[in-house]
Symmetry: D2
Amino acid sequence: MNDAELIKRYQTVRARSEALCAPLETEDYCIQAMENVSPSKWHLAHVTWFFEMFILVPYAKQYRMLCEKYAHLFNSYYETAGTFFPRPQRGMLSRPTVAEVYSYRRHVDTALLELLAHPPEQHAADIRQRVQLGIEHEIQHQELLLMDTRYNFSINPLHPVYHKVALPALNDPTPKMAWQEFTGGIVEIGHDGDSFAYDNERPRHRTLLQDFKLGTRLVCNAEYLAFIDDGGYDRVDLWLSDAWRTLNEQRWQAPLYWFKQGRDWMHFDLTGAHTLHPDEPVSHLSHYEADAYARWAGKRLPTEAEWEHAAGRQAISGNFLDSGLYVPQPAQQTGLTQMYGDLWEWTQSAYLPYPGFKPLPGTLGEYNGKFMSAQMVLRGGSCITAQEHMRASYRNFFRAADRWMFSGLRLAEDIL
Amino acid sequence: MNDAELIKRYQTVRARSEALCAPLETEDYCIQAMENVSPSKWHLAHVTWFFEMFILVPYAKQYRMLCEKYAHLFNSYYETAGTFFPRPQRGMLSRPTVAEVYSYRRHVDTALLELLAHPPEQHAADIRQRVQLGIEHEIQHQELLLMDTRYNFSINPLHPVYHKVALPALNDPTPKMAWQEFTGGIVEIGHDGDSFAYDNERPRHRTLLQDFKLGTRLVCNAEYLAFIDDGGYDRVDLWLSDAWRTLNEQRWQAPLYWFKQGRDWMHFDLTGAHTLHPDEPVSHLSHYEADAYARWAGKRLPTEAEWEHAAGRQAISGNFLDSGLYVPQPAQQTGLTQMYGDLWEWTQSAYLPYPGFKPLPGTLGEYNGKFMSAQMVLRGGSCITAQEHMRASYRNFFRAADRWMFSGLRLAEDIL
Amino acid sequence: MNDAELIKRYQTVRARSEALCAPLETEDYCIQAMENVSPSKWHLAHVTWFFEMFILVPYAKQYRMLCEKYAHLFNSYYETAGTFFPRPQRGMLSRPTVAEVYSYRRHVDTALLELLAHPPEQHAADIRQRVQLGIEHEIQHQELLLMDTRYNFSINPLHPVYHKVALPALNDPTPKMAWQEFTGGIVEIGHDGDSFAYDNERPRHRTLLQDFKLGTRLVCNAEYLAFIDDGGYDRVDLWLSDAWRTLNEQRWQAPLYWFKQGRDWMHFDLTGAHTLHPDEPVSHLSHYEADAYARWAGKRLPTEAEWEHAAGRQAISGNFLDSGLYVPQPAQQTGLTQMYGDLWEWTQSAYLPYPGFKPLPGTLGEYNGKFMSAQMVLRGGSCITAQEHMRASYRNFFRAADRWMFSGLRLAEDIL
Amino acid sequence: MNDAELIKRYQTVRARSEALCAPLETEDYCIQAMENVSPSKWHLAHVTWFFEMFILVPYAKQYRMLCEKYAHLFNSYYETAGTFFPRPQRGMLSRPTVAEVYSYRRHVDTALLELLAHPPEQHAADIRQRVQLGIEHEIQHQELLLMDTRYNFSINPLHPVYHKVALPALNDPTPKMAWQEFTGGIVEIGHDGDSFAYDNERPRHRTLLQDFKLGTRLVCNAEYLAFIDDGGYDRVDLWLSDAWRTLNEQRWQAPLYWFKQGRDWMHFDLTGAHTLHPDEPVSHLSHYEADAYARWAGKRLPTEAEWEHAAGRQAISGNFLDSGLYVPQPAQQTGLTQMYGDLWEWTQSAYLPYPGFKPLPGTLGEYNGKFMSAQMVLRGGSCITAQEHMRASYRNFFRAADRWMFSGLRLAEDIL
């Protein structure tokens, strides 16, 4: 990517963050309905701080901060970059206002584009790399912004609607679940080459797979409902010990965003509240629920190596943010499908370093590496992930109890 | 008060709520920085719901609610009036928007004024009484709105300013503390007659006082600082057991809103952050701190009966909301002063029913009576209380650990 | 009381503590089933520490502590007497063993009796007073020991029995509730004279009573059951706000120690589990429940001044610890009865200082005064209180939510 | 193993549990100083219940339970075997007494030995397998009993001593850390064959290793102290995010059981409190600390496959329970040493199912499988593990924050 392309991409991605906020009222930008989510305005400011902190401050000599306290307010978790405002209180800050946050974005954009136009030679390569990282970082937060908005809206009895969309007509019923077989052996996974990837996707390395098969598509609502109707949430033998405790403490009886209206199961998503669509992939599952469903079905979740091995052969296309739907869609093809887009797929792999893993040097090493503890890997992206952000080697990670990301479930099975 | 006067008062008070919000940005209306406070827009809507719920719904036949879910969202704690949205989550609601809340106010105002213009005869007296109660209720929430705004702003490192005000020049230094003596005996306290008062101020009844004296003015910052400098916050012998635990858990070292800048004590109030003014009455004390100070000073807090007996002889005037300052002012007179306005005065009386107390019938009985447990009485109003709202018999109440209301401290002593 | 009598009383009371432990297994001495209770061996050691700390250490020159760490382990809450082991962890200490605690008692007894035999003249009066206080303190802990044992046993599914006792045959059914009237006016309450009383009972002072009447006996189980059967625990209008929250959080549906076996209400007490006896006074109520019952009955709780005024005319006799039953008994007489013994009676009075209250000087001032916050007064003693410990002016106090003490309920009413 | 040998082994292991309790006072059997530990008497009863529940109840027709409630009291976590008493409250039960627990052991021993003498033919194989499992289970609890006793004693200011032991004289200083290299490739790990192993060690399967090297011995106290002295506990860059939060919440500044006396580091173990021995392997580390140390040292922890591959070539011998020391010993040999015994070694592997893992059928499937969530694997046994219990394939597992087991740390490194 040359400099002009980089500038163009910067501008496009920055603009998209703001476009995604177009449906929001000023009030919607400010709230934080649980600790895990952040206010939209915080996301807008934090991604801006990232460019300021890691590029402008070290490399743009003339740069003047708009407000020094923003460094405290909009640092997320970079311990070695200074203090940060407590995460659970992000929704308690009315200032800076939304308008001021937009001004902050303008302020940084101006300085950054100027720097990109005339980068100091000895830092040009670093700057370019960090801008690229900052862009990917902002794309990640676009997904968070939609995830968080959905959660924030979901606890409001008024059921606010983020957007109205005409979902595409479906030609056919969803194909029945089928199984694609893969032969084991030594395979390579992880990112290779110079193109952008996060540190946690490296190094590419060899691993050993047993023979296995994958479900050809994501598990859908109708299938998951059969699990519920079979007493899935009441059968202790199906659940991990941590899962069972969580289920009871939080009184789970269905995936997040499902609720009952009379006898009907309803579903709240970015387009509002709807009757549950049976063919839509089941979404907003914790790892615990995905694992329990798999056990009930006599299957298991794939490992991340299995998933990557299978996905590596496929084109990166699917129902991404780019479709403008922000809703997962029923599978429409036979054969291995939905590997990319629609929903992140839980794997049975813990999020741990690859053999030979080296985090980025300095503060940016905090980006990924320090979270390699008690999290599980998800793969493949979702209907709110930008397609350009996706790679076969991309490792997303959440705690096993988390449910507010766009997570779904694909089954796997050993071939004995 | 005749009907025209009542209508006028309704309009005046309703307008004042909105005027008090004029300095707020949209974002400021939405936040809730701790469980005890509410977002400004919630206050604006809740006081409106009060008129809707207790007057329009029972008495205005044609009335149509703007949104039925508001009954759930804006009920505060009236268990017998239906469900209510969890208090700690009020700051998690972006909708209704601020604009929608103002529309709700208009909607109810229109219907209420229409009803007041043509009240159904058989309910006219009830309506009038309830409108009066609703007005007093809204005035109470005006005070809460300012208290809560101050707290909400205080946790923001940007230190937002609610209003700028030119404080009046002081003629003289604050007079030294002196003591006014009162002779005991059987006295009457509580509200008498038909004019408006809350149920908890009734019935007027006889009580027995010992001889006592009162400090002529509120304790000021300089005096409180002497307590701090004497190790007041480290001397366990000065504190009640609950107080000591609270002090340690919350790491109190000074009143709420005091903070240190280098060696200087600073103070955050509705006008922003300032150097502490030595003559200003010390404010935002918990009962625990007021009690510890009094013990340190070899004095005690007054009982509510002592306070009311002394205050009953004074005109109800002082530094109230009406002054437009919203900041307590140094005492400027010798003799018993500051009994009204400036700061609520902690008493040593638990908030308990008067002999013969009868709560209002029905749901409105929940207004005051059900809180007669583990709270302490404060008296006299503050610089953010409307003067028209005050009475000698007025009983305010908070928990002993609370500090975000405009509370201060007057000393008392036995005459032996 | 002369010195010989004091020595005798010391020996008698010390022996009684140990006699009360006779039914315990070694294991029973060690447990702490909730934060509010203490292990029996801790009680035995703490009361011993009290004599050591406040008498032997200051006044017995030759005294050598058996173990210096006991000062830390067995200090309860005397902040100015040194550190103390965290209360919630008292049940986590296996050492000192029970046998070692008894040795500690012997060690202190020997030294104390020696000191009492030859008190240094200049301290003789102080020593005598402190021994008397220590004796009363130990008697208080005898009651706690039984309360705590009952609670500790209650959570064990094996339902251990503390003692078996033949309850006396009842001549007659409990008399119906009647009302005794009292004329108001200025009365005196509080302890007078030189005989022993706690600091919180002083000074005797004048107070004003309205005309009132008292229920002639304690409310009994059958009457309380009528409240339950009338939906008492589901009717929010009967409960204080704090009470309703507590009831819901703790899922109260009946007094502590009641449980259902099939359709029958059962009751666990120091003699084991039994069918509920309808005539027995209802016990182990929180203040919240006593208050709700009174509201349901259209009555109220007495104030402590009313209670003391009424009780002051009666002989101090009743079903105390001395009866050896440790179970409250149905009222057997008409006229005002059960004022003393059987169960502590909740009042509607907050536990606050009397006018002119002065705590004991020094560390012993922590005995009572620092708890005058958010507690309610109970009066009259119970079936596990020693009769010699009781006075008309005796003020017991607990938090409104507490239920593990032997608390009951007498109704009061205004005479209008 | 024939039947006579099985009976012999049953008797030996049962006797060892009781022998390990010989140093305990009755009181020591009853306490539970944190949620993770259990009272000794609970361990003694629970392992007995295991034989009763899984062997006597299904297979011994004539068997009569000593007490039916024991099934509730002594079930640990087998959800499908009935209810269980809440784990955090195990220390709140004084009954059954220690003597009663021993009677329970006798009762079950008698019945079980009778059954083993005359097993019903059609169940003989099942019985034999389950007895073997029950024996291994009891051996596991012998380790827990010592771990828990150490913790229970550690919080007592009196520092009780479990046993006095003469540690062996050391011939030489601990050898310097050296590195043993291993060539990667496809290797097999997991248990093979019919001999006893837990379900989680199966199936034996192939996995791929990179080239790696292992530290020849455990990291010792002196080396760990260098990490502390280098600011290890204050350098956020060395810690995982979860680790840093835990360290701050729990205020870790050293491994568990280290404390300072003046300037000296002390260490509390089963033999009491001592000056820290520099050559002793560092123990009672969380995974977080082991991981941070490794990062500081520029190394990493081994994977469990690496460990097993290396250990599989070694004889299973070392400083186990059998040595009677119960204290880890300094390494005394050059070359790869301490792989077995002394301390469990943290790996960087999450505790997850092996490819093709099948839990035991029925309730016994809850033994291991349901804990495969958010735990890390430890390998090799410790100085309180019985040697007969150990296998190269043995997988122990704890949460990353746990520190009360006898855990230590061996370093690994990639060969590039």
